[in-house]
């Protein structure tokens, strides 16, 4: 029977399908643009060669893939301890009076535009690194990791906080009742119980770190070279795309789309792995 219920249901179904169709459309369009270069160079060369010289027909993306993973790792190394620490503090240890403003501050941090953080990184962080470490340039993985760490921290904190809050209070009470100290309780009871949620938080942080473009581009150099140390410039998939896409044509442009496709696949793999991790466990 066609009544209001039916109309609402079908309309919302259409909205939901737009999301699915949108993803399919993006993947199809990107693959279409990427196809010429993948056909020419072959995925093996693209994934495993570090020789990027489109003028001579070389499309090795290894430098950028390495850059993406290294900056993601660096961002996680800095962001995850900060975020977890904050989440544990907010849910387990702080008084209500402090928890309020700190939570708000973390939420506001999540709202800071990435270009502002990138700009601050470029104008304040890089010169400081240059001075403190005495290096020539100051750009590089160290600056990028700090910038990314600051950017993914609010995301991870928010989700980890929810995960920790979801642990039944009975667990905590039982642990303390058995004589455990607060830290023992946190370490051996609450954290393992909230493990899935924390893993989800970290994976979403990874997703954000991989996709971050402008802020990383400003502090990474960038430069098409493997990083020789923490303070030499390098490239990631995102920064190379944004650097070259403006004026590129032909096969080189197609190769940039191939990099975009790779990024899409990595991001989708990360999101799907969230599903995998939380499938059979209790507190999904």
């Amino acid at each position: 029977m066609i009544d209001r219920e039916w109309i609402v249901k079908k309309t919302l179904f259409v909205f939901a399908m737009i999301a699915v169709l949108g993803i399919l459309l993006i993947v199809v369009l990107v693959t279409q643009q990427a196809a010429p270069s993948i056909a020419k160079a072959g995925p093996l060369q693209m994934l495993f060669s570090s020789n990027w010289n489109p003028q001579a027909g070389h499309y090795g993306m290894l430098i950028f893939i390495a850059g993406t993973f290294l900056t993601m790792l660096g961002g996680l190394l800095i962001g995850v301890p900060l975020a977890l620490g904050t989440a544990i503090y907010l849910t387990q240890m702080s008084s209500k009076r402090i928890a309020g403003p700190v939570s708000r501050a973390v939420e506001i941090m999540a709202g800071i535009p990435s270009i502002v953080i990138g700009w601050l990184g470029l104008t304040m962080l890089v010169p400081v690194i240059r001075k403190v470490l005495g290096t020539n340039q100051g750009y590089g993985l160290l600056a990028a990791s700090l910038v990314l760490g600051v950017m993914i921290m609010p995301t991870i904190t928010a989700i980890a906080k929810d995960a920790l809050d979801a642990v039944p209070v009975a667990y905590k009470q039982a642990s303390i009742g058995l004589g455990a100290t607060r830290w023992q309780t946190i370490r051996r009871v609450i954290l393992p119980a909230a493990r899935n949620g924390i893993i989800v938080a970290v994976i979403l942080g990874m997703g954000r770190a991989i996709g971050e473009t402008v802020a990383v581009a400003m502090v990474l150099g960038p430069s098409t070279a493997f990083p020789k140390s923490l303070t030499t410039p390098t490239h990631t998939l995102t920064t190379k795309i944004v650097m070259e896409i403006g004026e590129s044509t032909g096969l080189q442009r197609s190769a940039l789309f191939a990099m975009a496709l790779l990024l899409l696949l990595i991001a989708m793999a990360l999101i799907l792995s969230v599903r995998l991790v939380t499938r059979n466990k209790e507190f999904a």
Binding site: Q55, N136, Q137, G221, E244, G246, E247, T249
Partner: protein, 296 residues
């Protein structure tokens, strides 16, 4: 909600939609009478040409208030591609057409002459480089400033992205490449003249190259083989890093595009605006706006 208010809301909605449709239709129409120039004109392409095109657009729109001229960047390659596809009316380019682009049916309008200078961070203190030194620095074979008469510090090379028209002419004239040379190892990439200037200005011991019009007090330009990068030297060919700036149209320019390009080529615009940063076409003997008797 009762029946009357439903009708009222529907009616208001229809009126609003009608007004919106009417205003969109009117905005799309452009009068083609020569007396009152109106309509939309879009340009895109080279970031070197962009400041020039933007200033011409502003002056053109002041003279012809019913027109709307928008200028975007994106680089020379983007400009050529977009004008050939009809995405924009005029494509700006700071390089000549390459072989694959020569068959696109584009008509060339040379609008200015540009000089590219090698710049260094003020901390370097070098004032001149020979061609061999410049080539060695920008290909990465020379890595320390003390090998070319500067302080003992490692050189940080700053280059443009690989599709830049500015980079292409630099690589061809200085590095001797056929088109664009491969990235110098570890060179920092920038994708516009503005970011190039900012990077060289803020990174100690760095060297790069930039369009003459973008040089300011934050960077130091360097002479090449003793020849200063000036407009005069570009014109008399003693300074090799020089090129024409182009505005391409698909086929002969017509209508608003023709009026705009004619405006850009008027001696007044050339001598007053173009001459600030580039060599105006009035000084190029034999060009469309060359005022031969007075061109000096």
């Amino acid at each position: 909600m009762n029946r009357r208010s439903k009708i009222g809301i529907t009616a208001t909605g229809l009126v609003l939609v009608g007004l919106l449709a009417m205003s969109l239709a009117l905005a799309g129409c452009g009068s083609t009478s020569a007396k009152s120039l109106s309509g939309k004109l879009t340009l895109s392409g080279s970031t070197t040409v962009l400041p020039l095109a933007q200033e011409a657009a502003d002056m053109f729109m002041t003279d012809n208030p019913k027109t709307n001229v928008t200028v975007q960047g994106g680089g020379s390659s983007v400009g050529v591609t977009q004008v050939s596809q009809g995405v924009v009316n005029i494509g700006n380019s700071s390089r000549d057409l390459n072989d694959t682009e020569k068959n696109l049916g584009l008509v060339d309008h040379q609008v200015a002459y540009d000089v590219i200078a090698i710049i260094v961070n003020p901390s370097v203190g070098i004032t001149n480089l020979t061609s061999d030194q410049a080539k060695a620095i920008f290909s990465g074979t020379v890595k320390n400033w003390n090998q070319v008469g500067g302080p003992n510090a490692p050189i940080t090379v700053v280059i443009r992205d690989s599709s830049s028209g500015t980079r292409e002419i630099f690589d061809q004239k200085v590095l001797g490449a056929a088109k664009t040379a491969p990235d110098a190892p570890g060179a920092i990439e920038t994708n516009s003249n503005g970011i190039m200037r900012q990077t060289v200005a803020s990174t100690p011991n760095s060297a790069g190259y930039i369009s003459l019009g973008y040089i300011d007090k934050t960077v130091k330009s360097v002479s090449l083989n003793g020849v200063q990068p000036t407009l005069a030297n570009g014109l008399n060919k003693t300074y090799p890093l020089a090129r024409y700036l182009h505005m391409f149209t698909k086929g002969e320019a017509t209508g608003l595009a023709k009026s705009y390009i004619d405006f850009v080529l008027t001696p007044n615009f050339q001598n007053v605006v173009v001459a600030k940063d580039y060599v105006p076409m009035t000084k190029i003997p034999g060009s469309a706006s060359s005022t031969t008797p007075t061109g000096k």
